[in-house]
């Protein structure tokens, strides 16, 4: 079921259903500075918390002296791991079944780890007091990469775990090792690539924080939290802290970005809550930028050895990948329980071949925990990067144009639904169509001709890079996907008021994705209630139905589907009410958005607003009053958005500086609810993909000191260095999603880094350069060129 155009609009501008470029309604308050972010939350008698962090990467704690800090005027309490341990809260479970120190008791295991906390009457005093806490550390050697961690003489980082005798966090494999080996043995060509996807950080504009307000009289804990998954966090708080779940209310206010950084539970949340419980007053904790960068969920840090087997005709016959993952000191990835390397096994990408094998090893190091974050769809970023780099190298190795090589190996449109070598069931796609469109938009032939002329007058070399990604987003189904045991469903509750206005309550939580705008459009599409009459509520666990939250591009695939389904269920009830009002049989009614009329008698009609009023004032006997309902959606499958990105660069071989001359991104995310919002998501994602390929990384020195703890060292691109992106689309609806939509939030970060890197390497082909790891900083280009023979 392939189309190449967005379906025609079914609703008027006034109703503003799907397909309308409705302006983001949440932006009115944001651009006026009237949002309500975590740091805007101010409660009476609120105290302020600051966290003392380890200055070293690995050390035994000999002693902690808090007496001077305690004595400082304005300090209410100083909390250490010892105090937390008295309440059984010195350690907490992670989302991947490990445990993590809340406040260190025995050792510190990474620079920036939480050691103690000060609660004071104002934030300045809290920070002044930090310098009055004296910790005696006995330094231990630091492990700063997984190769070191696996070495025989490596210090044991997790010596508190009884069963742990080495630094291995997990070993995991999937696919058919035997079939893959056989294919490699029979291959005409083997293409290999060793590459490193460096550690980066999601770096949301707003760092993480909490305002915990435990009412001593009622025991009710209201916790304002920078949370992408407030319901899951409520349950985990109940399990961790032993608080009764009905007494926990998580409120996730406006979030200034998340990108996966606000999925884990951080020690600061737990300490602030414990402090409020013990002191009986609200406690606010909010990180500084540096604290966010050094201690919260990072992304990637993934060493990948990949290979493709090709037959004599240049068809891929198999892929293998061996992965080494730097997990940091705790295995704290937020990812589906049964998949230890996230959904990396989507690494067969857009290509049709029968065998694949993936082997992953996760290693503890003396670095902050994390790995799954930053618009990555559970490590699909790493997977997509590896296959798209391999495919480009394969084309070069056998002397075939990279576009032609892809065309030869793509899964064909008629093969969908397609079962991949690692077991995914791709729902729909037309990879040839998306690539053809991208090549046309970029004028591929023109740039290849320009490139063939050799260096430009200014000495710069032209390079053209492609990436044709396929993503897997929208977890679950509940059979395969859970996080910490919680099945990955999501829900929507729709209440249509008597006057025909409505409130939609969701278990997901926008961090900038525009849910308030777009989810109202789904209701408008299905019920004909103008989108402007529908308010969308998220993030308050006392007032929204349960859900797993927003990450991994799952809101539209899951909560969007729930919204469509509940809207349709209410429309079914509305039909019965309409029949009652029109004194006609339900079978004789016709629906158009916002109105039922009697077939053949269009003047006999009732609007959805009339029907809503009747639901509370004039409903037939035997029918329940009201026009409200809730639906829990368990997706039958994931959705598989895809696209082709093409980048044209000019590289100055003398300085290594590269600039993007043109970038075309053709995305197919199925039916677009709001094309403008989709394009905004893609533009942001491309910017982040460009950042990773061009400038972003967090490194560590040999002692485990973090280089990248502020915006001088950790680079976030501005509009100045970000290239212009030309966006295009094809539309291949998801056959199993109620409105044919797929997720899109992460496509561009997943797909684009390989396109940028492939472009630079393509420019350096005369020098025979086959790999430069990201970020492709000018000095790395320069080094690659220096080491290479001069081009002929």
């Amino acid at each position: 079921m392939t189309t190449t155009e967005q379906p025609a609009l079914r609703t008027s501008e006034q109703i503003c259903g799907m397909g309308h470029n409705r302006r983001r309604i949440e932006d009115d308050r944001f651009i006026q500075g009237a949002g309500n972010y975590l740091d805007d939350v101010k409660l009476p008698n609120m105290l302020h918390m600051a966290i003392l962090r380890s200055p070293v990467a690995h050390a035994r704690i000999v002693s902690i002296d808090t007496s001077e800090a305690q004595a400082l005027d304005g300090v209410v309490a100083v909390v250490t791991g010892e105090l937390m341990a008295q309440h059984n809260l010195a350690w907490m479970p992670t989302l991947s079944g490990d445990t993590q120190a809340v406040l260190a008791t025995d050792k510190v295991r990474y620079q920036g780890q939480e050691v103690a906390a000060v609660i004071a009457t104002d934030p300045y005093i809290a920070r002044d007091a930090l310098s009055l806490i004296f910790v005696d550390y006995d330094d231990l050697p630091a492990v700063v990469n997984p190769q070191q961690g696996l070495a025989g003489d490596a210090p044991l980082i997790r010596d508190e775990k009884e069963e742990q005798t080495d630094n291995v966090a997990y070993r995991w494999e999937t696919g058919d090792a035997h079939a893959t080996e056989r294919a490699f043995a029979e291959a005409a060509t083997v293409v290999e690539l060793d590459t490193f996807y460096p550690r980066s950080h999601p770096c949301p504009l707003e760092p993480c924080g909490a305002v915990a307000d435990v009412n001593p009289a009622t025991g009710k804990a209201t916790i304002y939290l920078t949370s992408q998954a407030p319901h899951a966090h409520r349950t985990l708080f109940a399990l961790v802290a032993g608080l009764p779940e009905q007494n926990i209310r998580i409120i996730s206010p406006d979030l200034g970005g998340g990108f996966g950084n606000k999925v884990p539970i951080y020690p600061g949340y737990v300490v602030a809550t414990a402090a409020s419980l013990l002191i009986g007053k609200p406690v606010k904790w909010i990180e500084s930028r540096s604290e966010n960068l050094i201690s919260t969920g990072f992304a990637r840090d993934y060493y990948m050895k990949g290979a493709l087997a090709l037959d004599a005709e240049g068809h891929i016959t198999a892929m293998r990948a061996e992965l080494l993952s730097d997990q940091g000191a705790f295995f704290a990835d937020a990812q589906p329980t049964r998949f230890r390397a996230g959904l990396f096994h989507i690494c067969t990408g857009s290509y049709d071949f029968p065998a694949a094998h993936v082997k992953a090893t996760g290693v503890f190091t003396n670095k902050a925990p994390g790995g799954v974050a930053y618009r990555c769809s559970f490590r699909v970023t790493e997977a997509s990067y590896l296959i798209e780099r391999l495919v480009e190298n394969a084309a070069n190795q056998i002397g075939v144009d990279p576009a032609e090589f892809r065309r030869r190996n793509f899964i064909k449109a008629h093969q969908f639904p397609y079962r991949s070598a690692t077991g995914f069931l791709y729902d729909s796609g037309d990879y040839h169509g998306a690539m053809d469109k991208a090549l046309e938009m970029v004028d591929y032939e023109h740039w290849r001709a320009e490139q063939a002329k050799g260096p430009r007058e200014d000495g710069k070399l032209i390079g053209i890079g492609l990436a044709s990604f396929t993503e897997v987003v929208g977890a679950g189904n509940s059979r395969e996907y859970d996080i910490a045991g919680l099945k990955m469903i999501d829900s929507a509750e729709l209440r249509v008021h008597p006057t025909g206005k409505a409130i939609l309550k969701l278990g997901v939580k926008s961090q900038g994705q525009g849910h308030e705008t777009t989810f109202a459009q789904i209701v408008a599409e299905e019920l004909g209630i103008p989108a402007s009459d529908v308010i969308v509520m998220e993030g308050d666990t006392d007032n929204t139905p349960y859900g797993l939250g927003t990450y991994a591009s799952r809101s539209t695939p899951v909560a969007g589907a729930a919204t469509a389904v509940i809207s349709r269920q209410l429309r079914d009830k509305a039909a019965k009410l309409a029949a009652h009002l029109l004194e006609a049989s339900e079978d004789d009614l016709e629906w158009e958005p916002g109105k039922f009329s009697v077939k053949g008698a269009p003047d006999r009609s009732v609007t959805i607003q009339d029907i809503a009023f009747a639901a509370y004032t004039n409903f037939p006997e035997g029918m329940q009053a009201g026009l409200e309902g809730v639906h829990y959606y368990d997706p039958p499958n994931m959705t598989y958005p895809f696209g082709t990105y093409v980048v044209v660069v000019a590289v100055d071989p003398e300085t290594g500086v590269w600039e993007v001359l043109k970038m075309v991104a053709v995305d197919d995310c199925g039916v677009r609810i709001n094309p403008m919002v989709v394009e905004g998501q893609i533009t942001g994602g491309l910017t982040e993909g460009f950042a990773m390929s061009n400038m972003q990384w967090i490194t560590f020195d040999g002692d485990g000191n973090c280089i990248g703890s502020n915006f001088t060292d950790y680079l976030v691109p501005t509009a100045w260095e970000t290239p212009r992106f030309d966006l295009g689309q094809t539309v291949t609806p998801s056959p199993h999603h109620p409105i044919g939509a797929k997720g899109v939030g992460e496509s561009a970060t997943v797909g684009s880094p390989a396109a940028f890197v492939n472009a630079v390497l393509d420019a350096l082909k005369p020098y025979g350069v086959r790999n430069i790891d990201m970020p492709v900083l000018p000095h790395r280009v320069w080094e690659a060129v220096q080491g290479a023979p001069a081009p002929a």
Binding site: D128, S288, T655, G656, T718, P778, H779
Partner: protein
Amino acid sequence: MYPAPFDYVAPTSLEEAVEELAQRGDDARVLAGGQSLIPMMKLRLAVPAALVDINRVPGLDSIQEANGHLAIGALVRNNDIVDSDIVERTNHTVAAAAPWISDPIVRNRGTLCGSVAHCDPEGDWNSVMLAVGAEVVARSATGERVIPIADFIADFFTNTLQPGEMVTEVRIPKYTGRAGGTYIKLERKVGDYATAAVATHLQLEDDGRIAQAGIAMTSVAPINRKATEAEQMLVGQTPSAELFGEAAQAAANAADPETNVRGPAEYKRDLIRVYTRRGLAKALEIAQGS
């Protein structure tokens, strides 16, 4: 981002300002644009006992032509320099460097004089000042003195101001005759410090030979460094690609970069070579057109 406690005074005259500095000595820091000082205080890397905020002192916020030089006051913001017709007309190196100072937000507040006084070897302005031969005017409660820029820069983050002295003005020589210059900088992104950068300045004789040459480098030594040997190779010579190539190599030899997140030392040294060559070519092109 909460700084440690500090005193704050905001004098309304230059006399009052230098009097405050005289009384408070080394414990006080002058606040003009604050674009380096305030972040350092927020990170508690700088913990001054007092700030003497000179933003209410009149007469320090203008760019003036006087006695063959440009006088840039202590409260002239970097964006004032970007927008200045006088600068554009009279000194190409300064005009070329101004848009490369950090980012627009920092340029709105940050000052040239503050950057010069800060003596951060990764700062851009002192390379420009060295290349064009600027002078620094320092004022204290007891008087005023004029310090050549090369004597003003003492070391890494260290100037030769005496306790109680503050920078009130920087004097930049105006071009005469056929002159040109530029500033070429590699930064990883807007607002980043230079990976490496080179300021160049050429003054030509009537017969086309080089009368004066200025070359100075950013981020490749403990201080902004003048490439003296390269300058001397140029003076009195007729410009040519070979000559510029040799001078560029001499400049690269004078660089003493460090390996860090912005790249290895060898790379930065080679960047100095390329940028010096390109910078001299650009300076010559401007000079020959003027």
